[in-house]
Amino acid sequence: MMSYYLRLAFISMRRNPVLSSLMVLAIALGIGACMTTITVNYLMSNNPIKHKSDVLFHVQLDNWGPFEAAVDPNDPPYQLTWTDATNLQQAQQGIRQAAMAKSGGVVEPADPNIKPFQAGYRLTYSDFFSMFDVPFLYGSAWDKQADENARHLVVLTKEINETLFGGKNSVGQSVTLSGEVFTIVGVIAEWHPIPKFYDLNNDDFGRPSELFIPLQLKRTMKLPSWGNVNCWKSPDEEGFEGFLNSECVNFQFWVELDNPAERSDYALFLDNYVNSQKELGRFPRPLNNRLNNVQQWLEYNEVVADDAQIMMWLSLMFLAVCLLNTIGLMLSKFMGKSSEIGLRRAVGATKGDLFIQHTVETACIGVAGGLLGLGFSFFGLQGLRALYGEFAHKLTSLDMNMAILAVVIALVSTILAGLYPTWRACSIAPASQLKSQ
């Protein structure tokens, strides 16, 4: 019987091509607008490391001044000082831990045909790669000795390896960074966590830094501080060392803790650490440390922009308006079939038979609208990409989940919208229609 209903649906759609097309178009427009904004929200609110979200923790310590909180109403600063980041790193209290910061400089390729260019550096520790499951194309991360000795070793992203070495295995080759020669130990494969959870200070949805080097090189090479630098008081000393020893925050710190007991132990360790620092005259504020896992950290940072959410709600309202139009069109279409409905009732169709028949027709319109809406979403996302460029690049990709969601939303919303017209069609009194034809 289902194949019969499907055939009747296609015949009915063909009978009123204009009305059917208008319905499909109305649904497609609503779905297109919705899916464009839902996709942006979905990718913004994505947890890029779900499988380890509960064991990776971002650390915040409240080293701020006594009279004003770093973040209202009473939150610690987002980042740590050099002193605290390196102290926590040396303490090695987690299973893995990595202090990190953003820097950058000029890259001078060995090949004279490639012009020098400026690139971002991610200064970090070797645990970064294993902690965040960073995939390697060639080679591997540097070892812990390289961390301690600030060796001139570098891990490249796939993209910069393409630029410098045409994508070939460059492990063992050299590259000059900020005037000093580095040996390449690894090249990572495609790795674009969205959002860039490990450093949400700038460009939450941007690309990862193009070069990874040991954090201790910050001191030895006096590498500049990129990203956000915030201080509640001026450094006590002049110069680069003065900055490193100051209360200025520019460093992120992540630690891997496998279970709640380890988390409690680590929280206690942080309290003890801050108390020990208080004895040195630092941390004037009451204890106010934070350990947020990845999901908590994303939520705390409100990664999904308010305007993106507002746009999503507006587009849902637009879908509702489109569906209201569809209800009207469907009502008109089904009422136009009154005599056929009356006849079917007369020759033995129950209300249930007619309900299924018209619901199948509605579903066909919904699926057609969903598929066309998917096309509209694709163009909508392309439009966003054209408007916002690189920022939006990673937020404007339709994946299979979104494609299925589009069709499901179209199907369910159209069937819901079709309930009233379908009910009206099923309620037609056969006797009233048969005489009138």
């Binding site: 015949i11 063909r14 033995g348 129950t350 009194a429 006797a431 048969l434």
Partner: protein, 235 residues
């Protein structure tokens, strides 16, 4: 076969109450060919709609095939219509986008027959009305008389116990009307009970019995073939 006892049908609006049928009593026996005549608004079509379970009634009892169908559910009424009653309408009521084959198929679809049996029944009933060679045509490609023949084929396909025809020749010229009437007589001779509403006394005279309806009541019955007239029931 069909027995109505004191059926009443009242249409109510906020301001007016119309009695379409009043104490309407009638019995139609198996194999009958009954023509129902009467002026416009007399209640002929209301009677036919109630007989075909297309409308409910306000009072009285209705027995179809010996079963009281007065209080049965909407779904049960659909089943009875599908299995026992065939309808022929003045306006043919064919679905314009469906071929003749698919039009005749409509009642069979709700019967749950296998596709093989449906095909067999459709071909047989289109053959009965002389249109088996045009099964894939659309209704618009046929004349009015041929369209009414398709409607008759549709009514016959489910092998109903009786046919209800509402002005079946009302939209046809006299030649076509006679041909349709001849077809109905043949169908009746094969054992199908027919109740036909008509305005045309000539056609009514070709039925076995005539019923005249006036003001929602049966006013007289004629046994046409015996030329015997008797006063009736509601007298």
């Amino acid at each position: 076969m069909l027995k109505m006892e004191n059926i009443a049908k009242v249409y109510r609006t906020d301001v007016v109450e119309t009695h379409a049928l009043k104490e309407f009593s009638l019995e139609v026996n198996e194999g009958d060919f009954v023509a129902v005549t009467g002026p416009s608004g007399s209640g002929k079509t209301t009677f036919l709609n109630i007989a075909g379970l297309l409308e409910t009634y306000s009072a009285g009892r209705y027995f179809l095939d010996g079963n009281d169908v007065s209080g049965i559910s909407d779904a049960a009424r659909s089943r009875v219509r599908n299995e026992k009653i065939g309808f022929i309408f003045q306006g043919f009521n064919l679905i314009p986008d469906l071929s003749l084959f698919d039009n005749v198929d409509v009642p069979l679809r709700y019967r749950g027959f296998s596709s093989k049996e449906r095909k067999q029944r459709i071909e047989q009933s289109l053959d009965t009305v002389g249109l088996s060679n045009r099964m894939r045509h659309l209704p618009a490609q046929l004349s009015g008389g041929q369209q009414q023949r398709v409607a008759i084929a549709r009514a016959l396909a489910g092998s109903p116990r009786f046919l209800l025809a509402d002005e079946p020749t009302g939209n046809l010229d006299s030649k076509m009307a006679n041909s349709v009437m001849t077809l109905l007589q043949e169908i009746n001779q094969q054992g199908t009970t027919i109740v036909m509403v008509t305005h045309d006394p000539g056609l009514a005279a070709q039925a076995k019995r005539n019923i005249h309806v006036r003001d929602g009541q049966v006013s007289e019955l004629h046994e046409v073939n015996t030329e015997h007239t008797r006063d009736v029931v509601n007298g």
